[in-house]
């Protein structure tokens, strides 16, 4: 005796949040049943394992049927096949597009290509996230990327509207898209200590300040590409390190300001030229796409690591960067105030965010 067919269809589609999560996590039906049994739902509802299995299979089927719609969340509201209350729709979408920080760290900044997808089984073994779930998350990234790539207007807003995502999730996706588009390197060992949220924060800064959309949000160009003109202008900052006088002047201004206010004054003073060279060189190189990719590596190598080895505190860092930025404006021969501000504003907040253990 065996069950050949077993379906349950409600006029209002019944979806169990817990099972949905198990499905999203890529559990097989049997594993999901195990998890549910351990969760104690059986005792609660006087159910048997058989009932649980039937229910789980049924739910899985429903989710599979819905998945097609979840790829275009706007369709979910317009489709006729499933009658799902609006709050449930929102839940389905939000959870479907939610991702694991562990996973996203693995693919952040990588090209969302077939090649990367092929490597997902490695990611899966490394992170302990099921391959199925990895694929879903990867496909989500790719789908969002493809849609917003072609669109005009603000990135976050586009994502929110097309995928009906809550604000925070839309911002995260914007970061992922931005990273994928600019191919920022995030996988190097030195960057391993950084979380996705660290990068997402930086991405937000970059999007808001360095892209074309940042200057003129009425412009129809995209948020995903950095403002070329700005990058071009950044080369002018080189004067801060190439002009010996300017460099010395800058150093003395900063040292004056910081003296007595920090415990790492000596180290700072000793390292000033190196640090400044580091930051300005990063700026000057950003015009090359290849160097853009190394932006975070460079930040860490050229600035964060030296400071960390000198045991700067966050407060020291903040103090230093503030004065470093402001002092430049006082230099008489330095003319590129606007570019400097635009550059250092982002750099400062990024470094402050990235400066932790």
């Amino acid at each position: 005796m065996s069950v050949e067919l077993d379906v349950f269809v409600g006029n209002t589609t019944i979806m169990d949040k817990e099972v949905y999560q198990l499905w999203l996590n890529g559990y097989t039906v049997n594993d999901a049943v195990k998890v549910r049994i351990e969760g104690g739902v059986m005792e609660e509802c006087e159910a048997s394992a058989e009932v649980l299995l039937s229910d789980t299979m049924d739910q899985y089927r429903t989710f599979q049927m819905c998945e097609r719609l979840l790829h275009h969340p706007a369709k979910l509201a317009n489709q006729l096949l499933f009658q799902i209350p609006p709050d449930r729709q929102a839940m389905l979408i939000e959870r479907y597009y939610a991702f694991d920080d562990l996973f996203v760290r693995e693919v952040l900044g990588k090209k969302l290509s077939k090649g990367t997808k092929k490597d997902l089984d490695d990611v899966s073994t490394k992170t302990g996230i099921t391959l199925k779930s990895c694929r879903r998350q990867f496909d989500n990234f790719k789908r969002v990327f493809k849609v917003v790539e072609e669109l005009k207007g603000p990135l976050v807003e586009n994502i929110r509207q097309h995928f009906l995502l809550p604000d925070q999730l839309a911002r995260d996706y914007a970061a992922i898209v931005f990273f994928a588009n600019n191919r920022f390197e995030t996988g190097k060992k030195k960057l391993q200590y950084l979380t996705f949220q660290d990068f997402a924060f930086c991405a937000g800064q970059l999007i808001n300040n360095w892209t074309l959309g940042a200057v003129d949000n009425m412009m129809e160009d995209m948020d995903v590409d950095l403002d070329k003109e700005f990058l071009q202008d950044l080369k002018d900052l080189k004067i801060l390190i190439t002009d010996k006088d300017l460099l010395d002047q800058h150093k003395s201004l900063v040292c004056t300001a910081l003296r007595g206010k920090t415990n790492v004054y000596n180290e700072m003073e000793a390292n000033f030229k190196n640090l400044s060279r580091g930051l300005v060189n990063i700026a000057a190189k950003l015009i090359n796409a290849k160097d853009v990719r190394d932006f975070f590596i460079d930040l860490v190598e050229k600035f964060i690591e030296p400071c960390r080895s000198d045991k700067w505190t966050s407060i020291d860092m903040n103090l230093y960067l503030t004065h470093y930025t402001n002092s430049a404006h006082i230099l008489d021969t330095f003319k590129h105030h606007a570019v400097w501000t635009r550059y250092m504003g982002v750099i400062k907040s990024c470094i402050l965010r990235l400066y932790h253990d």
Partner: protein
Amino acid sequence: MPGKLKAKIVAGRHLPVMDRASDLTDAFVEVKFGNTTFKTDVYPKSLNPQWNSEWFKFEVDDEDLQDEPLQITVLDHDTYSANDAIGKVYIDIDPLLCSEAATVISGWLPIYDTIHGIRGEINVLVKVDLFNDLNRFRQSSCGVKFFCTTSIPRCYRAIMVHGFVEELVVNEDPEYQWIDRIRTPRASNEARQRLIFLMSGELQRKIGLKVLEMGGNAVVGYLQCFDLEGESGLVVRAIGTACTLEKISTFPATATHPSNSSPSKDMKEPVFGEEAPGVPLSSGPPTPLRAQTFSSFSPSKSYSRQSSSSDTELSLTPKTGMGSGGSAGKDAGPLKALLKQQTQSALEQREYPFFTLTVFPPGFLLHVGGVVSARSVKLLDRIHNPDEPETRDAWWEEIRQEIKSHAKSLGCHAVVGYSESTSICEEVCILSASGTAAILSSRFMQDGPLDTELRLSQQPLCVFSTGSERVEGDMGSSASLGFEEVVSPGCGFCHIPYDELNIPFPAQLTYCYCCRRYKVPDVLFTTIDLPTEASVTGKGCLIQARLCRTKKKAQGEVNATAISNLLPFLEYELHTQLMNKLKLRGMNALFGLRIQISVGETMLLGLASATGVYLTALPSPGGIQIVGKTPSDITYEQHISNMQKKINDTITKNKELYEINPPEVVEEIIGSPIPEPRQRSRLFRSHSESSDDVSEIDLSHGKKDAFVLEIDDTDAVEDIHALLTDSPTPAGFYSCNTEIMPGIQNWTSAIQMFTSVRVFRLNANLTNQGLNKIFSDLCENLLKSLYFKLRSMVPCCLCHLNFTVAIPEDELIQVAVTAVALSFDKEQTLENGKQSGEKTPIKAITENDEQLQFNLELNAETSSSSISPKGLSEVGSHPSARAPSVDYSSFADRCSSWIEQLKLKAHTIRRGSVKTTSSMEKASPLPEGRSRSLRSNRSYSGSSVAVVKMTPLSFIPGAKIIKYLGIINMFFIRETSSLREEGGVSGFLHTFIAEVFAMVRAHVAALGGNAVVSYSMKECVFMENPNKNQAQCLINVSGDAVIFVRESELELTSVQPQSATTQTSNGGEGT
């Protein structure tokens, strides 16, 4: 040329990609009605085309309008090859033909393909301009309203209930035509779908004509079924109850009561006047029937009690005269009946005093006799003219005659809760019919207003002997005369309709536990819903009897004989099981009893479902006592006593669970002394007498207090085990297969309709017992799954649990369930139960407007009931003479029949009393309105889809139905040749059922509705061939499209917001 159908194709969305190269589609639309076809322009390269076509106009006969569906085909234009069909939409335009239903069909409808399922949606507008045609010879019946609902629809009142209508049409099944060998599965499926659409339309039109002929304007309890006979054809048949309905014009119920005092003049006259031109009175044969129609109205005009009774008397005398001899006259009946029949042949449809209704206006149902049913086994390959309906008509006629005579033998002149069904396996077909023998009130016809007046003043009713004589014409027993006196508080309808000294079957009578004056049986089985006014102790529950019987594989006559021989045993066992389970739950009555017998190659399957309750008027059921056959063995004794203990424990537990604690002792004291001993002795006598057929199905088994189960073999032990394995419903759940659950009133607005289907593969060579266990477990597990699925709705009640079983092929059992889960508010449950007594008098008054407008045209009953019943055993055999095919048996199961007497207290617990929960609705203002998304044609318009509720019940808790938009009757076929890719059989069927729901909802929304009530899935035929990776499924669903408004909203909106409320589209809210 009395009609102009206009259609406009607005737009499409979510179309599939038909051109791989461009990932787009060049779509255009063909609009076809009858033989006329129009086309839209091609909208190139879009998945969301905007055709915005002109109005396509079809000038057609209204006959065609009724028969034909509007067929919309979406195609992909292809320059070089043939255009590819994307899919089709069939639109039933019947709802537009009735002025009171929908006026326009407008909205997004799924484009359906039988191979690919739903492929996008199309936005259409359809209207009909109908020119009135008063031609009396017309073939159309536009304007007759159809309702699946088996009660008087919520916003109507019945002026007259005319009676039974039936029709049957036959056609060759396209699947079995020679051409099917060369055409594609898609073409074949579409031919089938279209044919069934046409046949349904034709059927409905023909029934409508009968209704018009009877002088009615509506069919209530319309039940349409398909018989896929295979080679011999495809049968579409329908039954229903013809009525004259009148829309309740005043909007809130409370507004109607001022008019209570003299509603007869206010309301009846205009209706009658209006109807007169519409119904060509002269065209009908000048039978007494017409005369009576008049006479029934005249008293209300004259407002005179005397004249009313005499009037009717006059018109009825010629018909009922012969029956007045009472039970003694039964033998003299047949001859006269024959004569009668000849004169009445023109009124064939009125031959049967049957009513498909299961819920009745208060006071309509006087007595319930018990369940009557009949079955007959037929061979389909013996039909002489398979293309003609005559043979099938004759088959059903036999069965109906049998039912009628069973009812008569119970002293009843009518059958209510009547339904018919078939089960087909290869060339064998089992026809079944069942209903509840009953006596209905006729006085509403003449004395309605007076009666109501009396009710209002709470006086006992005077005896209208004329009325009673007429109704109980052929029984005329003392009992029937007697109950007239008691009718007043509503207690009368449960007294035994048959003569106490002449009981047609052994039953145990006691005096009613409510009024102590009239006799009631110990147990009552019925197919109707629990009457709203019935007083019930505790709560009810679903009771199922399940049975499998193996049979040998055989062909033709041998097979038919084998089946007919098995049937009575099957029924007997089902009844025994039902009875045992009923006792086990400490209950004494079953409502909504539905026995389904399904036939397969190697087995018969029987499933009886009903809702058990404890009727306060009936005696408390005794326990179950087990008696062993070998008393000497001590261990055996012990075993028995163990079992006995278990049973007793279960009964106690159940009584607690269902809150059955009748105030037995108190009643006993108050009540008049009952001559109990005499009763008993007489009963024993009747028990011992029974030796014929009937005795087999005698379930009363003699003794009162302990229901004795004899254990004489292992079978019986198994039975008892089975009895105890029924697991109780989990906490917070109740279940019933009727519309309402007694004892629960405060429903919330949370409803969840669902369909669940399971197919089991059996191992070969199972014994009866093994099969029984498997089948029983299958049903139990299904129920358990449902409870688990719906656990978030607790506390809740699964209502209208409708199980259908089938044997799709050898070794497969299919069980399909459709039901609705209703949440209720636990807090108030207890209070309400106690308060209802005080609250309800007010309600009783408000209901009176309904009562007094209710009339029954009883001539059919009285005339036909004059055919006297022959011996019961005879009935089974006599129709075979007429049948052209081999008739192997028509089985009267005439199982058990009981009557009950109910105490109608001052209150009537109506279904409507859910009103009390209206305050809760505010918490969840769902977007009920319909979004007319004509403008929002872009897929990202943000307009969400309007919510459409579906329910198998005739009402929506916490809401008021303000308009019926027409009947929904849809038939779909889905086929696949890539079963695995679509997720196997479960994936395939899951998608299909979801698609069917979606299409029903879309069509309802397009009619302007926001709910389907009385929804049912009548057919779900699933066939698979996993080896070929193929499957096919046919589904037929029906229901009534309605507009409802939440009662909380009702209070806010002013009177007459019908159009206003529905048009304010708050559908956008759902984003």
